[in-house]
């Protein structure tokens, strides 16, 4: 097994008296899809917000490729190669795909000191990314607002890849999608991992998770209660881990 991309050690998050997260140890590896499962309020969202730099942890440390990091903003996390694709995508509906993918870090050439867009290069780069992701979009010049939910996910993923993201966090990427679109986004998720990205997937849909994940981590009441290789567990066991009916979880919760 190769060196993990990111290691989280003893991560805890407290909001005043409320402990949202306690003692989370987790390794995230490149080329692997890691699914985070858990009931509402189990701490999944808090954990990815820490990874994304949106919340600082109250305790513990994050180590990226051997060196500890401290994020004070999502920008810091992005600079370390972590991209988060939120459910409500931060895309500009009135701009084209290429414009969205490059927004904020456009390719430009300077003519008389005025920065002009390298529109052709940006188009080609995005066409290449879309092709690589096998995402078929008939009119790349169309505004993103006219695309379907799945296509928008593809655009958001392109944007993450274009930022040279090493870890892509996907928060419920299929929650608002139709069945056919869901298939496509799941395929995209696999392709991201095949490209060498580490992928963290949050989902409520367990059969979906079994389709794409290599490893499954279950959160319950702010703790990581289980970690399984997807190939070595099954639907029933995961459900019992989430609900707390599994003997391991009972034993763990008794000792705490």
């Amino acid at each position: 097994m190769t060196e993990p991309f990111l290691v989280a050690r003893n991560i805890a998050k407290r909001f005043g008296a409320l402990t949202a997260l306690a003692d989370v140890d987790l390794e995230i590896r490149s080329g692997e899809v890691l699914a985070l499962l858990g009931d509402n309020g189990a701490g999944k969202s808090t954990f990815i917000k820490i990874l994304a730099g949106a919340h600082p942890p109250s305790d513990g440390e994050l180590v990226i490729e051997g060196s500890p990091v401290a994020f004070s903003s999502p920008k810091d996390a992005a600079a370390s190669g972590i991209a988060t694709i939120f459910q409500e995508l931060a895309l500009s509906e009135n701009l084209s795909i290429a414009e969205n993918v490059f927004l904020g870090r456009e390719l430009k050439r300077s003519i008389f000191g005025i920065p002009f867009l390298k529109r052709k290069e940006m188009r080609q780069r995005v066409d290449g990314l879309l092709q690589e992701l096998d995402a078929h979009i008939s009119d790349p010049e169309a505004p993103v607002g006219s695309l379907s939910g799945g296509q928008r996910q593809a655009v958001a993923i392109c944007r993450a890849l274009n930022l040279n993201a090493r870890l892509v966090i996907m928060d419920e990427p299929t929650a608002a999608l139709a069945v056919a679109e869901t298939r496509k986004v799941l395929a995209l998720t696999r392709r991201l991992a095949a490209r060498g990205c580490a992928v963290v997937l949050i989902s409520h849909n367990i059969s979906e998770v079994f389709e794409v994940a290599d490893r499954i981590v279950v959160f319950r009441r702010g703790r990581k209660v289980a970690e399984r290789l997807a190939a070595e567990t099954n639907h029933e066991e995961v459900v019992s881990l989430i609900t707390g009916a599994h003997p391991d979880v009972r034993a763990l919760e008794k000792t705490n």
């Binding site: 999502p74 931060a90 500009s92 009135n94 701009l95 927004l103 456009e106 002009f116 505004p143 607002g145």
Partner: protein, 328 residues
Amino acid sequence: MNAVRQFRNGVISMNGREWSLLVACLLAIVVFAVASPHYATSGNAITVLRNSVELLLIGLGMTLLLAMGGIDVSIGIVMGLAAIAIGRVLGADGNPLLALVVGPLVGALLGCVTAAVVVLGRVPAIVGTLGLLGVYRTAVFVLLGGQWLSGLPATLTNLLAASVLGIPVPALVIASAYLAVWLALRRTPYGLHLLAIGNSEEKARLSGIPVVKVRFMTFVVSGVLTGIAATFYVATYRNVEMSIGSTLALDAIAAVILGGTSILGGRCSLLGTVLGVLLLRILQNGLLLIGVPSLWQPVVTGVLIIGVLGFEAISNRLPLARFQRARA
């Protein structure tokens, strides 16, 4: 297909809205020509174009502001203040170079003031510029001391009524301004950032766009264009009256909205603005010539704004139209 797209993306590309504006302009010209014997003369055509110069320049800036989700209702009085500054320079027998640059300079300065209030002070643009409108109105009155600035020397007039290679200077200036704004909007990161901010300021910020810088700059650009408009105003009329620019903001907003720029931001058409300005000025001139008192001009403008926005609101409520708009 590719050729069509390249044409559509060209400096002058026409969509349905712009074609209908062009047709409306031609239709209005035909109707007025039939109704008034004085209408279809070359002299009147020049009058209409002459009367469009200031509004075209201010309209370009207003297009950027609306596309960004901003607005400036004080823009007419900003032109008034710049005109007073130019008038003072001319009155003091200042050199022509100073007279040429003082307008854009004062415009830029007042653009900074507006930006300070709206962008740095985070006052909503409509409220902030309404407040400035009140302040500037009185400033114009105080600066003019209740009197017109009149009988100004023809220094600027001689410069700006000239022709270069047979093309009148105002046409050259407007064409350059149009090209510059078009390039900035469609070919530079600034244009993308402006449209992204118009779509959603929050998303723009999340995408790493320098929102404050882009918004600030746009108010300054609008101020500079207004200052250039003031220069043409003084060159043409050689006086500054108390009520200067009082209907300009209304006219500019009407022309820009007529042209297909979204009042909510994120979508704009520079060519539409040009056609909107021409239609407005053709209507105002034609109505005057068929005997409608000029008192009624703001009524026409106001009804046009309400009509266009009302029509858009109704057609957007139809699900099909919403889909088509998204595709557009």
